[in-house]
Amino acid sequence: MSESDNIVAETAARIFADLADPQTVNAAKDAAWKAPLWQALEENGLTLAWVPDDLGGAGAAIADGFEVILAAGRYAAPVPIAETLLAGWLLSTAKLASPAGMMVPLPMRPRDTFTMKADGSISGRARGVPFARDAAHFAVLAEGKNGAVVALVAAASARLSEMRGIAGDTIYEVALENARPVGSAAATGIGKEALMVMGATVRSLATAGALEAILALSVKYSGERVAFEKTISKFQAVQHNLARLAGESAAATTAATSAADAIANAQSLAAPGIYLEAAAARIRSAEAATEGAAIAHQVHGAIGYTKEHILHRYTRALLTWRDDFGNESQWAVDLGNRVAAAGADELWPLVASR
């Protein structure tokens, strides 16, 4: 996946390079850059890549959508491309058509729940939701009387409260109270675990992309900044920090692309090994985000801690993404419990099976 050898990946990379340049976005006085970027993504079928043609999407392969997200991560693009892709995917699993425009899937944290009453109305709340104010619709996974249900809910039906986030963009708590969905259908073959598996893999890929970007930024900066009469790239202490950052970036990319590859080639998200792949991607990429963001800031010194410099666009996104679709601690507890329940003699066969 590291080589953009397909048209979808190339298109995504070109759009982000042209319309989501971090320097331009960071210096912008308003959000005027956002509309042309979204329009380009939408016109090229990238926002609904995971939605089949007959449900209003582009019908691209799962692997292609993952490429789009990796590319978006490399620009820390502050548009809901990952969220809309996931929402479209979720709606498609229940054969619901996707509308145009920005969407966000709900819930985004494993402990948040929505329920559907017998009258078809939906209630519940989701914390830590980005782009809730931009979205036209939410794709909601809810518990119905006869199992999981997927519903398309108009954003106007939700009550939003602002939460304090790490990134520059506001995140929200989204509450639905007896909201009437635009459409709903029984979820087929997926439940909350599947949504978390997809969501965690998506965030891991974006994390991998952003870590690649801050590695490149940090290497470049170290070759420009002069201290003690030489570029700081010549100092062994700085070199070792950058080598560590390269290692964290490589670990995140490996874990995330491995999970994406596993999902793209599996019949079902419940297939053996998918859970381990997604959990490992989430845990390791979040750990890499913590380590990597700190190293990148250390290399950049004071200038990297300014609003003016683009580094924070990446590092704040990296730290924020750790909390979406289950944070690394939650995934680790669950993975640890599963490994323990399977027993000591199953540990190596599990690891070796991937």
Binding site: A255, T257, I283, W331, D334, G336, V339, A340, G343, A344
Partner: protein, 390 residues
């Protein structure tokens, strides 16, 4: 992004999984027959010639080498599977491990035909043990400071000086060692070293002094050369050009599963003492270790896939060793903390766990030193990022 390293999501093909089944069944059978005890750690019985002979019979040594030399012309990924299955079972592979991993491939590339025909089939039969003579008392990470001298005489060279930290030397049939044939030049301080095949069993003037490690194990040695004669035919590769040979082979040496699975048994015993329902912090700790191990292994498989494709992923291999050895070095300490509140019902499990933990803790400091220190690896990675020359 030019700085990003390449780790494609390579999967092991079906042929590997079939081979894995074969290896597991062989391992099970040999453990049952008492060939070795997988829970016995820190003992010298890893030099097991009978086991080496059986592995040779199975065709699992020299797996990737040409059939002409006793090899089996299979893939690096198949070799990967054999290596990791033996490693996690603590199989006694010391007789053939070094020869199989790097000495054999070096001979294949640089030795003359007679030597290849003589030695490689013996390695494949599990009869031939190798060591590597690199470090000297004044030259460790700084390999190119080596001083042990090779002086040209009629028909060969006389060697004088000493090598140190030489694993296996007390048992080895051969060493592959570098000696100084010329002084370094102003332009290239790496110039002047030449690689030789040293016949440890049939050469006068070589003595081997044991150096016992803090763990009590005897792996290291000091090897002293006093007018030891090496025939011209034992010269490997280019005179004065060993540095070129050494660096291109590092990916093989550094990216393998042995770089993070040397003490894997402690993780297995951890799961056993935690039982089916670990406490919250134990579950989290275990989950993180499994996620980290999975990631390391996927990186390592990826590098081996690149080797199979004929690439030289030296920087990627260094990343695997750097992350892998640091992970394994911390492993016993994390395991100790994770198990703090575990109360296993079976006392035997606790004893086995504590034995593995003590061993892993004792082994830990050497992991980031042997085969390329953390500092050297980070220098290579930094060079890969374009921050310095190689």
């Amino acid at each position: 992004m030019t700085t990003a390293l390449n780790f494609d999501p390579i999967r092991l093909p079906k042929v590997c999984e079939d081979l894995r089944k074969e290896v597991r069944s062989f391992v099970k059978q040999e453990i049952a027959a008492g060939t070795w005890d997988p829970n016995a750690v820190g003992r010298d019985e890893a030099f097991n010639y009978e086991f080496a002979r059986k592995v040779g019979e199975k065709g699992w040594i020299g797996l990737t080498w040409p059939k002409k030399y006793g090899g089996h012309e299979r893939t690096f990924l198949e070799r990967y599977v054999v290596t990791e299955e033996f490693r996690v079972a603590n199989a006694p592979t010391r007789v053939f491990f070094t020869a199989d991993r790097q000495s054999g491939p070096t001979l294949l590339k640089y030795a003359n035909e007679d030597i290849k025909m003589d030695i490689l089939p013996r390695i494949c039969r599990g009869e031939c043990c190798f060591g590597i003579g690199m470090s000297e008392p004044g030259s460790g990470s700084d390999l190119f400071a080596a001083k042990t001298k090779a002086t040209k005489v009629d028909g060969g060279y006389l060697i004088n000086g000493s090598k140190i930290w030489t694993s296996n030397a007390h048992r080895a049939d051969y060493l592959i060692a570098i000696f100084r044939t010329s002084a370094p030049t102003k332009e290239n301080r790496r110039h002047g070293l030449t690689s030789f095949l040293v016949d440890m069993k049939n050469t006068k003037g070589i003595s081997c002094n044991p150096i016992i490690q803090l763990s009590g194990l005897h792996e290291f040695n000091e090897v002293v050369f006093e007018d030891a004669f090496m025939p011209d035919s034992h010269l490997l590769g280019e005179i004065d050009g060993a540095w070129k040979q050494a660096t291109s082979e590092l990916a093989y040496e550094r990216s393998g599963p042995e770089r993070f699975l040397e003490t894997f048994q402690v993780m297995i015993e951890l799961v056993r003492v935690l039982g089916e329902k670990p406490d919250l912090r134990a579950a989290e700790g275990l989950g993180r270790l499994v996620a980290q191990l999975h990631t390391l292994r996927r990186m390592s498989v990826s590098v081996n896939g690149m080797l199979q494709a004929g690439k030289e992923p030296v920087v990627e291999g260094s990343v695997v060793k750097d992350l892998g050895t640091l992970w394994e070095q911390k492993l016993p300490h994390k395991v100790r903390e994770i198990a703090a509140f575990a109360e296993p019902e079976d006392l035997a499990n606790r004893v086995a766990f504590e034995e593995q933990l003590a061993f892993a803790t004792t082994i830990a400091p050497k992991l980031t030193i042997q085969g390329g220190t953390t500092e050297v690896l980070r220098g290579i990675i930094a060079a890969g990022l374009g921050l310095r020359g190689r």
